[in-house]
C-alpha cells in the first residue's frame, strides 16, 4: 500500500483545507466549475475523507480532480471551514508526483501547462509575458492582440516603458536573477516536479504513439493535450441558454 492519505497529510494545504465534511453540498452549489463540468467538489471531499487508499488512487487517476478552476469561492462558504479547492490542489500535486495524471485526458494537459507557464518562468522570469501569447494559440485575444504582438516594442514604449530594458514593464532580467530563480526551484523541489511531469508525459506519448520532443511546444503530443477535447466532461444541458436575453 502506498499510504496515499498519509502523503496527502504532508501537504500543509491539505491539513488546513480538510476538517470533517458534513456533505451539505454548499461548495457544489457555489462552484462555477460544477455549473460547467460534470463535477461535484462535495463528492471529492467525501471520497478523500474515507481515507481509503484505493478510493484516493482512483481520484488521482480521474478526470474529476482537474475540473476545478481554483477560484476558492468554496473557502468563503463552507460551514465547516473546509477548502475543497485546496484539497484538490494537494490531490493534483500528488497525482503528478506519482505519475498518475497521465491516466486522464484532463490530467495529461499538465504537460501543456508545464511547457508554457512552467518553462516561461525559468526562461523569462514571467508566467505569461506578452511575447509568449502567440495569436495562433490565442484566437480569442482578437485582432487588437495581433496588433500589440506585432508592435510590442511600441506598445510598451507608448505606456512609458522599454521592452527588454533594465526596468519597468517586461524588463529583461539579468543572468544572476534568473540563476537565483532556478536555484530556488532546485532547492525547493520545483525542478523535480517539472522532471516528474516530463517523464510521465514522455512515457504516455510513447504509449499513445505520438511524436514527443524534449523541449518546446512543436510536437504532436503537445498539440494533442493542448487542444483535444473528447466532449465527455460537460453537463448535458447548459443552464444558461434559457436566460439569454438576446435581441
Amino acid at each position: 500500500m502506498e499510504n496515499l492519505y498519509t502523503q496527502l497529510l504532508e501537504d500543509v494545504r491539505f491539513e488546513e483545507g480538510l476538517n470533517a465534511c458534513m456533505n451539505c453540498g454548499v461548495c457544489t452549489a457555489i462552484c462555477p466549475a460544477a455549473e460547467f463540468y460534470n463535477y461535484d467538489p462535495r463528492m471529492i471531499v467525501d471520497m478523500v475523507q474515507t481515507r481509503n487508499d484505493e478510493v484516493i488512487r482512483d481520484l488521482l487517476k480521474s478526470e474529476t480532480i482537474w475540473y476545478c478552476g481554483q477560484c476558492m469561492s468554496c473557502k468563503t462558504r463552507c460551514p465547516r471551514g473546509n477548502t475543497p479547492g485546496q484539497i484538490i490542489m494537494a490531490l493534483r500535486l500528488l497525482s503528478q508526483k506519482l505519475g498518475y495524471f497521465t491516466e486522464s485526458e484532463k490530467g495529461r494537459q499538465q504537460f501543456a501547462v508545464k511547457r508554457t507557464v512552467g518553462d516561461n518562468i525559468l526562461e523569462y522570469g514571467y508566467c505569461v509575458p506578452s511575447y509568449d501569447v502567440e495569436p495562433e494559440r490565442h484566437p480569442e485575444q482578437g485582432p487588437v492582440w495581433e496588433h500589440i504582438y506585432e508592435n510590442l516594442e511600441h506598445f510598451i514604449a507608448r505606456a512609458g516603458g522599454e521592452l527588454y530594458g533594465k526596468e519597468g514593464p517586461l524588463r529583461r532580467f539579468t543572468p544572476e536573477v534568473m540563476q537565483e530563480l532556478r536555484d530556488i526551484f532546485d532547492v525547493t523541489g520545483g525542478l523535480d516536479l517539472f522532471d516528474a511531469i516530463e517523464e510521465a508525459s514522455e512515457k504516455k506519448a510513447k504509449e499513445m504513439d505520438m511524436e514527443f520532443t524534449k523541449e518546446g511546444i512543436d510536437c504532436e503530443y503537445f498539440r494533442h493535450v493542448y487542444t483535444f477535447d473528447s466532449g465527455i466532461h460537460f453537463i448535458e444541458e447548459p443552464i444558461m441558454e434559457d436566460h439569454e436575453t438576446g435581441r
Binding site: V12, R13, E16, P32, A33, F36, W66, G69, Q70, C71, M72, S73, T76, M89, R92, K106, Q109, Q110, V113, V117, I121, G125, Y126, V128, P129, S130, E140, G142, V144, W145, E146, H147, H154, R158, A159, G160, E167, P169, L170, R171, T174, E180, L181, I184, F185, V187, T188, G189, G190, L193, F194, I197, V225, Y226, F228, P238, M240, H243, T245, R247
Partner: protein, 353 residues
C-alpha cells in the same frame, strides 16, 4: 444599536492601509496587457500624491499562475515570494504593494500559513538562504494597489476633471465593479470590506460621482480558472463564466465594467470579442460592447489623462461611448501612434469603434 457595538462589528471589515513608503511588485498580466496602468499608478503616487514608492527591477514573477496551474509547489512559491520580501528588506521597506489579485491572494495565503505553521516560515528562510544567500523580514503590511487608490480616492476626486457623470443629463454613470475572487474570498480580513462587503472599487466609483450596479451574478468568478484558460481545450469554461456575468448584468445597462484584477479585466474584454465573433451578441446599449477598464485607467480618465497614453485603445471593446458620456475630448488620429508619432495600422474588428 449602540454606536460602540456598531463600530466593533464594522471594524472587522475595515483595513488599515499604510500612508507612504511603498515597495511595489508588478503583475505578469498587468504589465503584459495593461502596462499603461502600472505606469500611471507609479506616476500618480509619485507626482500627483507626492508619495515614496520604490520598485526593485530584480523582482521576478511570483510564479502565481504556475502555482494555481499546479506546476509550481507551495514550497517553491513561498521561497520566490520570500525573495521579494528580501529585496524589500534590503531597501528598507516594510509595506508591500501588489499589482495583481492572484499574487495578492498568494501573499495572503503564505503569510497566514507562516502564522499558523511557524515551521513553514523557518523552512522558507532556510530554502531562500540556501538558494540565494538572502534573508528577509516578514513585511508589516501587504496591500493590493487598488487599496492604495481607494485610500487616496478623495484626493483623486479633488483633482477630477471628468467625474463619472453623464455630462449632458447630469446623471451618475452606472458602473459594474468586479473584485476578483482571490482578493478577499480566501482571507477576508485582507480586503477592504472583507468577503461580504468588498468596498474597494465601490468606494472609488462613488467618490468619483458614479453609481454602482448590483446584479445577480456580481460575485461570480470571471472564469479564468488557470488551467481552464491556459490550455486551449478548456477555454469554454472561461468563456461560459464571463458570459454568465454579461447576461446577468445586461438588463442594468452598465456604461462600463471596472475590474480589480488584471486577469479579470483581460478576460471580460476578450470574451466580449469572442462572443461577438461566435454569435453576434453584445451586452451594452445600442448594440455596443461594455468597455472594461482597470481602476488605474478609470482614475486616469477621471483625472483628465490622455486615454491613449493610458492604453484604452488596446482593449477589444473600445471606450469611446464612455468617454463621450463623460464629455472627454480625444483625437481618434492619435490612438495608434508610436511614442514618437509614427502611425501604426489600425487593428480590425474593434468593438464600439
Amino acid at each position: 444599536m449602540k454606536l460602540e457595538g456598531k463600530k466593533r462589528i464594522w471594524s472587522e471589515f475595515q483595513k488599515e492601509i499604510p500612508d507612504d513608503h511603498f515597495f511595489y511588485v508588478r503583475s505578469c498580466i498587468r504589465q503584459s496587457f495593461f502596462p499603461g496602468s502600472e505606469q500611471f499608478f507609479l506616476k500618480v503616487l509619485k507626482e500627483d500624491l507626492g508619495k515614496d514608492i520604490f520598485e526593485d527591477p530584480n523582482h521576478t514573477t511570483c510564479t502565481g499562475i504556475g502555482y494555481h496551474g499546479d506546476v509550481v509547489q507551495f514550497d517553491t512559491i513561498q521561497t520566490v515570494v520570500a525573495r521579494h520580501f528580501a529585496l524589500a528588506t534590503e531597501h528598507g521597506y516594510k509595506d508591500v504593494v501588489i499589482s495583481c489579485v492572484t499574487s495578492f491572494g498568494i501573499y495572503e495565503e503564505i503569510i497566514e500559513t507562516w502564522k499558523h505553521y511557524p515551521e513553514t516560515l523557518e523552512k522558507t528562510r532556510e530554502n531562500l538562504y540556501k538558494a540565494t544567500g538572502r534573508v528577509f523580514d516578514v513585511p508589516d503590511s501587504i496591500t493590493h494597489s487598488s487599496d492604495i487608490i481607494y485610500k487616496f480616492k478623495d484626493e483623486i476626486a479633488a483633482k477630477a476633471k471628468f467625474p463619472l457623470i453623464d455630462h449632458v443629463t447630469g446623471e451618475p454613470l452606472r458602473i459594474v465593479e468586479h473584485i476578483g475572487c482571490h482578493y478577499s474570498k480566501m482571507f477576508p480580513k485582507y480586503g477592504v470590506g472583507g468577503a461580504e462587503f468588498p468596498h474597494v472599487l465601490i468606494g472609488m466609483i462613488e467618490a468619483w460621482g458614479g453609481e454602482v450596479i448590483d446584479y445577480p451574478e456580481r460575485r461570480h468568478c470571471c472564469g479564468f480558472g488557470f488551467r481552464q484558460y491556459i490550455v486551449q481545450a478548456n477555454r469554454g469554461y472561461s468563456l461560459s463564466n464571463s458570459r454568465k456575468k454579461f447576461v446577468s448584468m445586461q438588463p442594468y445597462k452598465p456604461e462600463a465594467i471596472i475590474a480589480n484584477c488584471p486577469g479579470c479585466t483581460m478576460f471580460m474584454d476578450k470574451w466580449q470579442y469572442t462572443i461577438k465573433e461566435m454569435d453576434g451578441m453584445t451586452y451594452g446599449q445600442h448594440g455596443q460592447g461594455i468597455p472594461v477598464l482597470t481602476y488605474e485607467e478609470l482614475a486616469g480618465i477621471v483625472m483628465g489623462y490622455n486615454p491613449w497614453d493610458l492604453g484604452l485603445q488596446y482593449h477589444n471593446v473600445q471606450s469611446e461611448p464612455l468617454l463621450d458620456k463623460m464629455g472627454i475630448k480625444y483625437d481618434q488620429e492619435e490612438k495608434y501612434l508610436t511614442k514618437d508619432g509614427k502611425k501604426l495600422p489600425v487593428p480590425k474588428d474593434l468593438i464600439n469603434a
